[in-house]
């Protein structure tokens, strides 16, 4: 048999049937469910008098709407409360395992799943959320789907799909001090553009990627969707196995050994051919800061806000519009941009390693006077607990950060955590779209280290020079 990519292996092992035109039914091993994109799917099942095909494949958690403060009082926004209660009722009705708001295991769905060992190598994983690409970090085929597809997977355990093209993004060498997986992701998006990966599944390879922790790998795969690729993935290896061993949903004992021996084959074969490739030198990656309203509008911390006149056509119009929205002037050094708020958290950067990295920067310092709010929102109850056991919460609190309960929070501002119009935020989340963090809010995407350093300085600073 000819050399296969990791994507080939994952795809081929899940094809139930395939038509001559390439339309296939793909078997889904795991469906993660949250409150925003599932109510209409459950309603569809009920109307058609259908039952979920395999209840054990589903795992649910409320995350987008949940408050990060005063949880004991419940959800004050009645519309948000109904949505979370609807998830609770649907899970109870169909017998689906759910980690409810009061559960220590509750958290952002893409933090919770891997943390529970519910995402395993070789699986197909779907969720009604575009950042499902995160789970590809485990050598899984994982991508976001719409609500009609959520219902389809519930009812049939399959997805109608066509195979994407495969792209390799290879990063070689050692990352510099203060440079993270987030900076790799933003650099890739800056080079490829937000549509560069459309129609592709991206596999991240190379020595730099191999050297990343699982947390870093998840950050990288999480952002694949911001490059337009529905799926990002990384071959399973010892780092993957070490992370998963002993987690609640992971196989145990003899079955663990059996699983690992199969998982060792989950990598692209020597000589496998990709449809496209991009190669990066880790030494050339610097801490990144977005300046505009699309993740591709990104520069190094050493750079300046670009001049739209240096661009042509639609890129120029887009940049001009973005600068107006962002309230920025071309040529301004990034380090001269003052911020009003800081958000550390999300499915991109809400894991324990992110908490540690931000805390290292904040230790013994104080949030700058011009920063009105610096939020740290752990990705799950278990991340929060571990951080507290390590004393990270005290470091943040003493520095003037707020230490909150887990959820999506200000990544998309469906709860009370949001920017007011004109407020500028250093955010570890994944999207800097207009209005994403609150109508009129201005988002700059950065790593946790860069966000913490900006909170302390009151403006962006180069953490690689500290």
């Amino acid at each position: 048999m000819s050399a296969q990519t990791l994507y080939d292996k994952l795809w081929n092992s899940h094809v139930v049937r395939q038509d001559a035109d390439g339309t296939a039914l793909i078997y889904i091993d795991r469906q993660l469910v949250h409150e925003v994109t599932s109510p209409q799917a459950f309603e569809g099942l009920r109307l058609a008098k259908r039952r979920p095909w395999r209840i054990a494949s589903m795992l649910a958690v409320p995350d987008h709407n949940v408050p990060t403060i005063n949880r004991a009082a419940g959800i004050s926004d009645p519309v948000s409360r109904i949505q979370v209660e609807t998830l609770d009722a649907n899970c109870a009705e169909f017998g689906i395992t759910e980690f409810k708001m009061g559960d220590i295991r509750q958290g952002v769905v893409h933090v919770m799943g891997p943390e529970q060992g519910a995402t395993l190598p070789g699986m197909t994983v779907v969720c009604g959320d575009s950042h499902t690409s995160t789970h590809g970090a485990f050598g899984a085929l994982a991508h976001g789907i719409g609500t009609s597809e959520v219902e389809h997977v519930m009812a049939t355990q399959c997805l109608v799909a066509k195979k994407s093209k495969a792209m390799e993004v290879r990063v070689e060498g050692q990352l510099g001090y203060g440079v993270t997986a987030k900076d790799i992701a933003l650099t890739v998006i800056g080079k490829m553009g937000t549509a560069g990966g459309t129609g592709y599944a991206i596999e991240f390879t190379g020595s730099t990627v191999r050297a990343l922790s699982m947390e870093g790998r998840m950050t990288l795969c999480n952002m694949a969707i911001e490059a337009g690729a529905r799926a990002g993935m990384i071959a399973a290896d010892e780092v993957t196995f070490a992370y998963l061993e002993g987690r609640p949903f992971a196989p145990q004992g003899v079955m663990w050994e059996q699983a690992v021996s199969q998982w060792r084959h989950l990598h692209s074969d020597e000589g496998a051919v990709f449809d496209a490739s991009l190669v990066l030198d880790a030494a050339e990656i610097h801490p990144q800061v977005t300046w505009g309203t699309s993740p591709e509008m990104v520069v190094s911390i050493e750079g300046c806000v670009p001049n739209p006149l240096d661009l042509s056509g639609e890129k120029r119009e887009g940049a001009e519009r973005a600068l107006v929205y962002m309230g920025l002037t071309a040529g301004t050094p990034i380090t001269k941009i003052n911020i009003d708020k800081v958000f550390i958290g999300s499915c991109t950067n809400g894991r324990i390693e992110d908490m540690r990295a931000a805390a290292m920067v904040a230790r013994g310092k104080k949030v700058a006077a011009n920063v009105k709010l610096a939020l740290v929102v752990p990705g799950s109850g278990l991340v929060k607990l571990q951080a507290e056991q390590e004393g990270l919460d005290q470091i943040f609190i003493q520095a003037g950060f707020e230490w909150r309960d887990p959820g999506c929070s200000m990544c998309l501002a469906m709860n009370d955590d949001k920017l007011a119009a004109g407020e500028r935020c250093a955010s570890t989340s994944n999207r800097n779209f207009e209005g994403r963090q609150g109508q009129g809010g201005r988002t700059h995407l950065v790593s946790p280290e860069m966000a913490a350093a900006a909170a302390i300085a009151g403006h962006f600073v180069d953490v690689s020079k500290q």
């Binding site: 987008h64 609807t86 719409g146 597809e149 009812a155 337009g228 196989p251 699983a259 779209f433």
Partner: protein, 210 residues
């Protein structure tokens, strides 16, 4: 699902690239547990001057006269003409729900984000990819002719402009079949129930931890 065969639709131009699904339907409207009623909040932050929240009476809100869809010549438009990477970002199906509820049946762009593109077909909305030069020709033709309509025929896979120019487009045969007949994917997939069960048995025997 509503069937789609052919329309003669008024074209509205949205001349910007990378229109994301947060812009198409802002997050506060995602709290609804229903599929219907998102149309009045499509492009909410561009369309109105105030901040929209669920439950507001949208007819009483101040509209943004500068936003293209608010111009009188585009009222009743069914075809949205736009630029690269339309529908990028969040997977929210509320975006096609909002566009369909607004009244659009077709979106023409040089490229679409993958998840959004998929979601359209599940909701009787036809996304058409045309090359960037053709899209530019259509933008110019629309700008020069008030009341610019296009004949869009899914069966024939053609778009006919008022001057008689015919542009053909590609569409996946399976999706075309479903859209023409208003077919529900789930019912079609369940015709293969035995194959799915057989696959599942083998798959789980090989990987008993699943």
């Amino acid at each position: 699902m509503e069937k789609f065969s052919k329309i003669n639709g008024l074209v509205a131009p949205l001349d910007r690239a990378n229109v994301d699904t947060d812009a198409i339907i802002p997050k506060q409207f995602l709290k609804s547990i229903k599929r219907a009623g998102f149309g009045p909040n499509a492009f909410d932050e561009w369309r109105y001057l105030d901040h929209g929240e669920p439950g507001m009476d949208n007819s009483k809100r101040e509209i943004n006269p500068d936003f293209v869809l608010n111009q009188s010549r585009y009222q009743g438009s069914q075809v949205l003409l736009t630029r690269e990477n339309f529908g990028c970002g969040s997977s929210r199906e509320h975006a096609p729900w909002a566009l369909a509820d607004y009244g659009f049946r077709v979106i023409i762009a040089p490229s679409f984000a993958d998840i959004f593109f998929n979601n359209c077909f599940k909701n009787g909305l036809l996304p058409i990819r045309l090359d960037a030069d053709t899209v530019e020709i259509l933008f110019k033709a629309e700008a020069a002719n008030a009341g610019f309509k296009l004949d869009i025929d899914l069966e024939a896979q053609t778009i006919t402009a008022p001057d008689g120019t015919v542009y053909s487009f590609d569409v996946d045969p399976f999706r075309k079949h479903c859209l023409l007949n208003g077919l529900d994917d789930i019912g079609l997939t369940l015709q293969h129930m035995d194959e799915i069960s057989a696959f599942e048995a083998k798959h789980r025997a090989a990987q008993p931890w699943l």
